[in-house]
């Protein structure tokens, strides 16, 4: 087995009394796309910032590209590309100027700079827009500028903090495809954070679920889904709410858990979707209750998340960030 691209051992980050990251360990293999999945405030950005030398670790050890981030920060910085959560390309400068300035910050020599910029622009499909001021681009294009910027110095490990937050579904999928292609072509290892389940599921080879600073589950999307008791999810919507349904559903064959979602709406995890469905329909008929809808699906990462954290990702209150500037006039959302 080759040395991992990233190895994180028991890292902790404390802000005063508050522990933002609590004893997290994982490793990312070379060429892997690794996802850190968790709600807002879980500690994903804090983790990325420790791995990318932006903030010191309180305890533990992080080895990135073979170098200890605490002792050889400079070596690490040369080998990684980082896209912070905020859009940080300069809106007043053109796409090419932004890339050129970053290449210079990495001391990429002139000839190589020109070649690299042309290559990354091609890779993110922005060659046509190289002379456009960044503020004139759409949100999805701005993200692609950021991605290109993170790659101008040919890093071997790429960190992206929520690269698709705020993008429309089409742009999100474009970003996923772009990252998959880049990984294949450039032999990149990618660490990405997200709070989108579907994104983690489709894009990542392995996922670490983070909640309240703790790593609660780690594995491939399939492993994670299998680790949840129950193979299917039955979603059922009753005509009217009766409190007894919770208990009644739990008694059906194969059912491992029942979550009440809203008035008369339940998500039932079961080892056998078909059996549970049949019994459910019969039971409802015998009681004279009406179903408004019924569906059977495979378990998703949502269920995995609920299983490990006891709550739903989508219910999480989106915490406002500590401070944000109002958008600049002319800036694209």
């Amino acid at each position: 087995m080759s040395t991992p691209a990233i190895a994180v051992e028991h890292i902790v980050k404390r802000y005063g009394d508050f522990e933002a990251v609590k004893d997290v360990s994982f490793s990312v293999a070379e060429g892997e796309i690794f996802g850190l999945l968790g709600p807002n405030g879980a500690g994903k950005s804090t983790l990325i910032r420790m791995m990318t030398t932006l903030i010191p670790l309180t305890a533990g050890k992080a080895i990135v590209a073979g170098h200890d981030v605490a002792k050889e920060a400079d070596a690490v910085r040369h080998l990684i590309g980082v896209i912070p959560q905020a859009l940080t390309s300069d809106p007043d400068l053109t796409v090419e100027e932004n890339l050129s300035i970053y290449a210079k910050l990495y001391s990429v020599p002139k000839a190589e700079r020109v070649k690299n910029i042309a290559e990354v622009l091609e890779a993110v499909d922005l060659t046509k827009w190289r002379g456009a001021q960044v503020k004139t681009l759409s949100g999805g294009m701005r993200r692609r500028v950021e991605i290109a910027r993170g790659l101008v110095h040919n890093p071997s490990i790429f960190f992206l903090d929520e690269p698709t937050t705020g993008l429309d579904p089409v742009s999100r999928i474009a970003v996923w495809e772009m990252l998959s292609n880049l990984r294949a072509k450039r032999n990149l290892s990618i660490l990405i954070t997200t709070h989108y389940m579907d994104e983690a599921d489709k894009l990542c080879d392995r996922i670490a679920i983070v909640d309240h600073g703790k790593l609660v589950a780690l594995g491939t999307p399939i492993e994670l889904k299998h680790s949840v008791p129950g193979a299917n999810v039955v979603e059922v919507h009753f005509d009217r709410e009766t409190p007894e349904w919770q208990a009644r559903l739990e008694c059906l064959d194969g059912v491992t858990s029942v979550q009440a979602e809203s008035e008369g709406f339940y998500r039932v995890l079961t080892s056998s979707g078909s059996k549970t469905t049949m019994q459910l329909v019969e039971l409802a008929a015998s009681l004279g209750e009406t179903l408004t809808s019924l569906s059977v699906q495979n378990t998703t990462l949502d269920d995995v998340f609920v299983h490990y954290t006891g709550r739903q990702l989508r219910d999480e209150q989106v915490k406002p960030p500590v401070f944000t500037l109002p958008p600049r006039p002319g800036a694209q959302p």
Partner: protein, 370 residues
């Protein structure tokens, strides 16, 4: 080095692409020069004065002739005849007229008898400038009337001409050094302080910090860029301001070199100070809130608006450590007094040492991490 210049390049490209910063740093000082220079420098004209004459004697007539000649010549005031003192006082109080002169009964007789002749003057002293001006004019009229006729006319003629030749340029010129300093201060405040904190809040620095750039390269890059912007603002205002004020000094190459030296060390000093103040600030509101306070603490104690000689001791002490003081002193020496290099060398030295000193203190405080 290439990394430091990348930072400078970014700042300068941004600077030239959005000229708003430059316009903003020049706009206020130029307006200050034009409006304050004209508003405060002018002399009072066109005040209205009531004359209540209870005497009607020959001396009263002389007095009124003197008033008429003021109305025609320096135009400080014109006179209106009133018959009733009470009405005149009331009109001064309500602002209908600016002052009232009361010539009492027996005035002429008392003058001839040399029996302490007195003229009453009612002024609205809520406006010190106008009332002071009228009082001054009255004093000189009275003084003229009690001495031989020819001499005071000559004297007042001469005094009159000096005022008329330079109606307000004196104060405008006096203000110019302050306005150059102000332009550079605003440039450093916005182009150095505010943009720096905004970039921090927006995450631009996070983008820098993940690259291999060193702390020194980042600090010097940011400061060099901010200083260049301040130098450009200083040059623009010196040229524009000199033309407005009608100062020809800028057409002398040696004076230009001296001015450039002053502008550069001023940029270094202001920028070093600003960087020290901002190095640990994260909240973009802080520099905005500090703007006015700093302006007050630095600008007014510097002798920019009023001579330091008139300050109480504590304010003088403040002016000693205020870089504005040296900046304004230096610019005055070149622009207004043509003092040459010797006159500004201490200012140059102070500003340079101040700038480098603050930068040296700030650098270790700068965090290479978030």
């Amino acid at each position: 080095m290439i990394r430091m210049f990348a930072i400078v390049e970014r700042e300068m490209r941004k600077f030239f692409r959005s000229p708003m910063l430059m316009i903003m740093s020049l706009m206020m000082p130029i307006l200050q020069l034009l409006i304050m220079g004209n508003a405060f420098g002018g002399k009072i004209v066109g005040e209205k004065i009531a004359v209540v004459d209870y005497d009607h004697g020959p001396q009263a007539v002389r007095l009124r002739e003197a008033f008429d000649s003021i109305a025609v010549n320096i135009k400080t005031f014109t006179t209106v005849d009133y018959t009733d003192e009470v009405q005149a006082r009331e009109d001064v109080r309500t602002g209908k007229i600016n002052a009232a002169v009361i010539i009492p009964k027996q005035y002429s007789r008392r003058v001839y008898a040399q029996d302490k002749p007195v003229i009453g003057l009612v002024v609205d002293d809520s406006d010190q400038f106008s009332s002071g001006s009228i009082e001054g004019e009255m004093q000189s009229v009275v003084a003229a009337l009690t001495t031989p006729v020819i001499q005071p006319r000559m004297a007042s003629q001469i005094a009159l001409e000096i005022v008329e030749l330079y109606p307000y340029v004196n104060y405008l010129k006096f203000l110019l050094p302050a306005c150059v300093a102000m332009a550079m201060y605003i440039s450093v405040m916005i182009g150095g302080g505010m943009l720096y904190i905004d970039d921090k809040a927006r995450g631009v620095h996070e983008g820098y910090l993940v690259t291999p750039i060193t702390k020194l390269e980042l600090v010097f890059g940011l400061n060099l860029a901010a200083a260049i912007k301040a130098v450009l603002a200083g040059i623009c205002l010196t040229v524009i301001g000199s033309l407005i004020a009608g100062l020809g000094v800028i057409f002398h190459p040696v004076a230009d070199l001296e001015l450039l030296a002053m502008i550069i060390v001023t940029a270094v000093a202001f920028n070093g100070m600003m960087f020290l103040l901002m190095v640990r600030v994260d909240d973009p509101l802080t520099p905005r809130a500090m703007f006015g306070v700093l302006n007050m603490l630095l600008f007014y104690p510097s002798g920019a608006m009023y001579p330091i000689a008139a300050f109480p001791p504590w304010l003088r002490a403040l002016s000693v450590i205020d870089p504005f003081t040296y900046c304004i002193d230096g610019f005055k020496a070149i622009l207004l007094k043509d003092g040459g290099f010797t006159a500004i060398r201490f200012d140059l030295l102070f500003l340079f040492v101040f700038g480098i000193g603050t930068l040296l203190i700030a650098t270790p405080l700068f965090k290479r991490t978030l």
